[in-house]
Structure formats: structure tokens, C-alpha cells
């Protein structure tokens, strides 16, 4: 007769939880570059938490009640994962990873950050389960931290929520945040409005913004060297030079 030790509830829960988290990575690797995307500001970068950011620490919560929609939180999250790029405001692109929004996947982004140049950056999916998923930003992204998308039941309605915990990555982004921080709020309000509309809800998005730390982390000022905005601008400006050198490079090879 063999006896098997039964896992405790705690062990079972930890096991289930483990499969929802990405494994630690030293540096990001981009395995596929979709058409129109760029990986040079993401490849080889490390993830950044709010601890590695420069600017004030913000917690922003955006939520919309899906009034009248007969959907469970799991159905909302499944739809959100599946159609994530479609809910983004026009002018911005989220290149969904081939494997979808799953733990460990890296997605490339083109973001309208003011001016004619689109900023190329990315995110990594660090957590994903049936009722929530979390993105974490790499070095060079405007923001250092993470954003969690979730859905839950409240007073006979399903509520969809995006919660951001971030600092601006460097002094240039911080200046942008202080001057135009509301643009970021509008971005997520527009996203949740689009999600609500998809489920037939016209409810307004509730926004709750809290500044957790009004201190600049000068120890992180060196993040400037990864600034994806500057790197994207330099990449665009250097395009004619790369074009001029192309025949030379072909001949060399």
C-alpha cells in the first residue's frame, strides 16, 4: 500500500499562484518583432519597479462599472486580454505578443508622447490569472512601475479597473508628468471608456489619484541614459544616415 501526502490548502494555493507569475528575468528578450514595432529600446533592458524610478510616486486608480452588462469578472478579463490593443486610444499601438497576454510575455508599444515622433518602448506581463493581469515597465519607459488590470463584482455589477503604481523614470519624463500628467489619466480613462462601451455600458470612468511620495530619487537620475523618447528621436533623426550607409554595408557583407 502506498500513501501519498496530500498537499495542504496553502500549498495548493501557492502552486496555483506560481503559474500566474512570470519567472524572474535579468534582462528582457524580444523574440518576435511585429511589423511597425521596434525593439531597440526594450531588448536587453531590465524591468523597473517604482523603487528604481526618479519622480514622485503615484497611485492612480481608474474604474468603470459595467452597468447592464451580464458578464462575470473572468469574462471581462478574458475579453480585455484578447482585445487589449483595440481599447487603447487612437494614435497609440500595443503590439500584442504572439502568445497573448501571458506571464513572461513582452509586448512592444508605440506611444504618442507629444510631438511628431512616436515613442517606442514595451512592457512585460509579470502576472496573469482569470481576473487580473499586471504589466511591468522596462528601463527607458516613461514610467517605472506596474499597472494592474482587474475586474470584480460590486453591488450587482461587474467593475473593470486599472491601477497604476509608478514614478516617472527620469527627470525629463518627470517634467512631462508634472506639466502634462493629466494626459496619462486621459489615456486610461479613454481605455476604460472603450472597454465599457464594448460591454454596452455608458458609465463614466471614476479616477482616483494619490501621490504617495513627493520626493525625487536623485540616485536614479542615471536612468536618463535609457530614455526611450530620446533614443527614439535619435533613431528617427539618424534614419537618413543609416539609409545613406546601406549600400556600403551591403557591399561589405
Amino acid at each position: 500500500m502506498t500513501t501519498e501526502s496530500q498537499p495542504t490548502n496553502v500549498e495548493r494555493r501557492a502552486d496555483r499562484d506560481a503559474e500566474h507569475w512570470a519567472k524572474p528575468v535579468a534582462r528582457l528578450r524580444v523574440t518576435a518583432i511585429p511589423e511597425g514595432a521596434a525593439a531597440y529600446t526594450v531588448e536587453g533592458r531590465r524591468l523597473t519597479s517604482p523603487i528604481q524610478g526618479f519622480g514622485w510616486l503615484w497611485q492612480k486608480t481608474f474604474r468603470v462599472r459595467l452597468d447592464g452588462a451580464n458578464v462575470t469578472p473572468a469574462e471581462v478579463i478574458a475579453t480585455w486580454k484578447q482585445h487589449f490593443p483595440e481599447f487603447w486610444p487612437k494614435g497609440n499601438r500595443f503590439h500584442k505578443p504572439l502568445a497573448g497576454i501571458a506571464p513572461g510575455e513582452v509586448a512592444l508599444l508605440s506611444v504618442a508622447a507629444g510631438g511628431p515622433v512616436k515613442l517606442s518602448t514595451g512592457i512585460m506581463v509579470v502576472y496573469a490569472d482569470d481576473e487580473s493581469f499586471t504589466f511591468m515597465t522596462p528601463e527607458g519607459h516613461m514610467l517605472a512601475g506596474w499597472i494592474t488590470f482587474s475586474a470584480y463584482r460590486e453591488a450587482e455589477a461587474t467593475v473593470a479597473q486599472a491601477q497604476v503604481l509608478v514614478r516617472a523614470s527620469d527627470p525629463i519624463y518627470e517634467l512631462g508628468q508634472l506639466l502634462a500628467g493629466r494626459l496619462e489619466n486621459r489615456f486610461w480613462e479613454a481605455t476604460l471608456t472603450a472597454l465599457g462601451r464594448h460591454f454596452g455600458s455608458a458609465a463614466a470612468v471614476e479616477t482616483h489619484v494619490v501621490c504617495i511620495d513627493r520626493r525625487w530619487q536623485w540616485s536614479q537620475v542615471g536612468n536618463l541614459r535609457y530614455n526611450a523618447g530620446l533614443r527614439t528621436a535619435m533613431h528617427v533623426l539618424a534614419a537618413p544616415v543609416r539609409f545613406a550607409l546601406r549600400p556600403f554595408r551591403v557591399r561589405q557583407s
Binding site: D17, A18, W21, K23, T48, I51, T148, Q163
Partner: protein, 117 residues
């Protein structure tokens, strides 16, 4: 959302308090965690040691609360340390780079020694 965290504070030494955390650490347990921190830093305590030995579950909301706790500790010049994390949650601390700011130790004795308490 209902909170199912337990956070009991004990003075391990005059200079360090230990917060024994049990149950679920999620975004819903902000009040319990912040109250425990406030209680832990009363008096002479220069370090707060988080004991995760009885932790069942922690999600990204819970990790966010630890960031908030860390900000508070830094502002007050207190050390924040931790022990009792399972391999799984150690990996999460590594992934989220929280482990670079919160000292992680194998047991309470090591954590208190690092706290200089």
C-alpha cells in the same frame, strides 16, 4: 473586497519590531498593514522586520503595498527587512526588484542581526 490578512506586531528588541504576517497580502489590506507598521515603529524601533512564514498568498496589489511601506520607512529613516519567504515569493521579490530595497533573510535571527538590533 474583504481582507484576510493577519499582522501581529511584537517588539523583538528595543530597536527592532517584527510583524508576523499571515493570510493574504493584497491591495485590500492596506489599513491592516499600515496600522501594523505604525505600531511597529512606535518608540525606539529603528528597524521593522516582516515575517512572511505564515503568508498564504500575495498578489501585485500586495507587492504595491510593500512599496508604499518601503517609502514610509525610507522617509522615517527606518530599515525594512524580511524573512520567511518561500522560494516562490523570493522569486517574485526578485522579479519585481523589491528584493533590491528590502533586505531578505533566511530567518529571524539573521534579519535582526542585519537590523543591528
Amino acid at each position: 473586497m474583504q481582507s484576510v490578512i493577519t499582522a501581529e506586531v511584537r517588539k523583538a528588541t528595543p530597536a527592532a519590531s517584527v510583524v508576523d504576517i499571515g493570510g493574504d497580502v493584497t491591495g485590500a489590506c492596506e489599513r491592516e498593514l499600515m496600522d501594523a507598521y505604525a505600531s511597529a515603529t512606535e518608540g525606539q524601533a529603528r528597524a521593522v522586520v516582516l515575517n512572511f512564514s505564515r503568508l498564504d498568498y500575495m498578489n501585485s496589489g500586495g507587492i504595491g503595498l510593500l512599496v508604499t511601506l518601503l517609502v514610509r520607512a525610507n522617509r522615517q529613516g527606518k530599515k525594512l527587512l524580511a524573512f520567511g519567504l518561500s522560494d516562490h515569493y523570493r522569486q517574485i521579490f526578485e522579479l519585481t526588484r523589491l528584493g533590491e530595497a528590502i533586505g531578505i533573510f533566511g530567518n529571524e535571527v539573521e534579519a535582526l542581526a542585519a537590523a543591528g538590533a
